[in-house]
């Protein structure tokens, strides 16, 4: 037993000793966070952290809590880390984000952006604060959930990144008729869609000719939108930071999460 313990003491120098917390935090960030928040914190499927505006608080304790517990009703999961790892990660995030520094507002006129939203028929597929259609992602808190660069991409080229819950599926019936909708669920033998009217459509795969998984987003690209309109629309969407509900109401806050 003693020999065993000594063995471990000898072994220790093989492994990194006290690491630089920021460097260690960076490593943790790259493998755990960059996937959604971007390698440089510019955002992606998750909010941009580099701008220092933290929806759930920018103190070390608040960032720690978000990492440890996740955020209900969003795609932010809970991460199980050792206490020292968590410290290093938070130190790194705070260092690169310049936490506390107010981020500049998105350029453009949010009020006019709302008009663009209405005029362009966005509500035909999206919902904001309970108004509109449930076909596409709920945008009630899109400004808090995504960077404005990401939102711009999503408008101009929606196929660049399609949220997991909004994959398009086309079912080709035996008579050649086609039905396209959002995939709600699927398995080896069946598929369940939501059609543009919001209705569930359910199929057994052996009763249809084909089930096609759309490579493109079901949202049309708005690449030719006037530059000013687009900027105003971005300002409007950035202003949407609908409160996150917690506990039993959390599901209601879903949508773009």
């Amino acid at each position: 037993m003693k020999a065993f313990l000594i063995g471990f003491l000898v072994l220790c120098p093989l492994f990194p000793q006290e690491t630089d917390p920021i460097e260690s935090g960076k490593a943790l960030y790259r493998s755990n966070c960059a996937f959604c928040h971007g390698l440089t914190g510019g955002g992606g499927r998750g909010p941009a952290l580099a701008q220092g505006n933290f929806v759930h608080g920018s103190s070390a304790a608040e960032i720690r809590r978000v990492i440890r517990e996740g955020v209900a009703g969003t795609n932010m999961p809970a991460f199980h880390m050792e206490a020292d790892e968590l410290d290093h990660l938070v130190a790194f995030i705070q260092a690169f984000s310049g936490a506390g520094v107010k981020r500049p507002p998105v350029a453009g006129d949010a009020k006019r952006g709302h008009d663009v939203y209405t005029r362009s028929g966005c509500g035909g597929c999206h919902q904001v604060a309970g108004q509109g259609s449930i076909y596409g992602p709920d945008l009630s808190r899109i400004g808090a959930a995504r960077s404005s660069d990401y939102i711009r991409d999503s408008i101009v080229n929606p196929s660049a990144d399609i949220p997991e819950d909004y994959q398009g599926v086309t079912v080709v019936m035996r008579d050649g008729k086609r039905l396209t909708g959002i995939r709600v669920n699927e398995d080896t033998f069946s598929v369940q869609l939501r059609d543009p009217s919001g209705k569930f459509r359910m199929f057994q795969k052996n009763e249809v000719r084909e089930v096609l998984h759309e490579k493109k987003s079901l949202m049309p690209p708005y690449a030719s939108m006037a530059k000013e309109d687009l900027q105003n629309l971005l300002a409007y969407l950035d202003s949407l930071r609908g409160g996150l509900k917690t506990g039993a109401d959390a599901r209601q806050a879903e949508g773009i999460r």
């Binding site: 000898v10 072994l11 492994f15 790259r30 493998s31 996937f35 080896t188």
Partner: protein, 528 residues
């Protein structure tokens, strides 16, 4: 009158089955029973029963369900059936004996864990010899239960308990008068071993360390002191050839899983198949599938024993569809590599050389920024059972098509903490999928496949009814025509399937059993 009643009573109370070593050797001659984890020592998982067959399987339906009500991890148990009684394990250190015809409980054992120990984790089932039922517990005990009552007869600590280090999950294997049991902890910086215990007393007879010490053969394949925390767990059941007096056991990954710089070398006997003398634990030969693994590709998949004509002459083979996406054929007397072919998408090996060693593609190592490789960490197949049907001559197994991004960072070893060396992650927008594959075991050629929507975690069963039973990740238990691959029957069991189906007979009636969620389900044809 009274005398008659007593006589009737005596006749009704059948004595518990005596499962002898002879019966275990000849397990395939008792198609009504399922006597070991893999069904017999060779792990072919084929049964000569054709009552349920390609013509009538469409009528198969649920006969009974047994709700364990125990969450405690995925229900990975494979039930044993001995003369009308089914034995299996559940979550939280439980074991059950139930009437295999009705699902009614005969006894239940609940392991008494000392205060403060983590008690949840999977368990893969029991072994039986004589009047004892053997199981391991998540705190690394090997327990023998009385087959008639479920009462503990002996309880042996395989290794002193320390939170976050060793644990045990496998179904033990009985060989002669010994119980063979392995250990888990490949992600916890343990040094792996395989043990043999005296079946009557629980006293340890031998221990085989899967990671050799310096000076021992293979010790030179570990840099510095890395062998002390080198991994090499033995978390799945092996197979056994009584004529050759040899056991075949798969060894798991080296640690840290995703970072190999401080354990340079091949890291024997991790990701290897070891052939052991069951009497002494002496190594006869080994074959390493993935030298110096950094992708967690344990080699614990079923080492199936087949006697087939290899290039014109009968040969004793051991075959394995490995987690690293290659299917291997070895000579089981010598360990000689005979063939290896990829069976799923893989990005890491150009080919295998004449001795079966992989020739690596460039840049396949995990990196700090993340490196996408196929198969993913869970492998192109895993613990789910393959099967071999002698009528079609085909090997049936579950294939996972899925890639991961592998990250790597120098880890710090802290006893009791995970020792991964970073993380892995599924590739965004690259949907996983899977299939049931029917393959010629001599050529690696695919005869047919049936696509699953998701990558499966459930195995297969073959019967002389011309059927292959298999499970998918969405909870469907399915039956296929073994020849054509046509799906003939399915049922959604309502939970992902993470074990492998079995079949048995009671009073001449055939059943198929499959665990789902925390429920054991038995299927049968309607009674006429």
């Amino acid at each position: 009158m009274r005398r008659v009643a007593l006589l009737l009573l005596a006749a009704a109370s059948t004595l518990p089955a005596q499962v002898t070593y002879e019966r275990l050797i000849n397990a395939l001659r008792e198609p009504q029973n399922w006597l070991t984890y893999w069904g017999d020592y060779t792990a072919v998982r084929h049964r000569d029963i054709n009552q349920i067959n390609t013509a009538n399987v469409k009528d198969l339906r649920v006969e009974w369900m047994f709700q364990t009500g125990m969450p405690g991890g995925a229900f990975e148990t494979v039930p044993l059936v001995v003369d009308g009684i089914m034995y299996f394990t559940g979550g939280e250190g439980t074991a059950y004996a139930v009437d295999a015809r009705s699902g009614r409980q005969l006894w239940r054992y609940k392991h008494a864990f000392p205060q403060g120990r983590s008690t949840s984790g999977v368990n893969r089932g029991v072994a039986i010899l004589g009047n004892l039922v053997y199981m391991v517990t998540i705190d690394s005990h090997l327990v023998a239960l009385d087959i008639a009552t479920g009462r503990p007869v002996w309880d042996t600590e395989m290794v002193p308990y320390k939170a976050g280090t060793y644990y045990a999950t496998l179904a033990p294997l009985v060989v002669k008068d010994k119980v063979i049991a392995g250990i888990g902890g490949g992600e916890q910086g343990v040094r792996g071993f395989l043990d043999a215990y005296d079946a009557k007393t629980g006293k340890r007879v031998w221990r085989f360390w899967t990671v050799p010490a310096p000076g021992e053969k293979g010790g030179e394949t570990w840099a510095g002191d890395s062998w002390k925390i080198g991994g090499g767990p033995t978390w799945m059941t092996g197979t056994y050839d009584p004529k050759l007096n040899t056991m075949y056991w798969g060894v798991g990954n080296p640690g840290a899983d995703l970072y190999g710089e401080n354990r340079r070398g091949d890291n024997l006997y991790t990701c290897s198949l070891v052939a052991l003398d069951p009497d002494t634990g002496t190594l006869k030969w080994h074959f390493q599938f993935t030298p110096h693994d950094t992708h967690d590709w344990d080699a614990q998949e079923a080492p199936m024993l087949l006697d087939l004509n290899w290039q014109g002459r009968p040969r004793k083979l051991v075959v394995q569809a490995n987690r690293n996406a290659f299917y291997y054929v070895l000579d089981r007397e010598t360990g000689e590599f005979l063939m290896g072919k990829p069976f799923a998408r893989q990005t890491w090996a150009k080919e295998l050389d004449a001795k079966g060693r992989p020739i690596l593609m460039p840049n396949t190592e995990p990196t700090p920024e993340g490196n996408r490789q196929c198969p993913g960490l869970a492998g192109a197949t895993n613990w789910m059972a393959p099967s071999y049907n002698p009528q079609t001559g085909l090997f049936y197994f579950a294939v996972r098509e899925q890639c991961d991004i592998y990250y790597s960072e120098p880890p710090k070893y802290v006893e009791g903490k995970a020792y991964w060396g970073s993380v892995f992650r599924g590739v965004t927008d690259e949907k996983e999928s899977g299939m049931l594959k029917a393959m010629d075991p001599l050529t690696g050629e695919t005869k047919w496949d049936f696509r699953y929507y998701r990558a499966p975690w459930a195995g297969t069963l073959s019967t002389s009814g011309g059927l292959i039973f298999a499970g998918d990740e969405d909870g469907y238990l399915m039956a296929f025509d073994a020849k054509s691959g046509k799906n003939l029957w399915k049922m959604n069991t309502g939970n992902r399937l993470v074990s492998s189906p079995i079949t048995y007979l009671v009073n001449g009636r055939q059943y198929v059993a499959m665990p789902s969620g925390s429920v054991m389900i038995a299927f049968a044809l309607p009674e006429k």
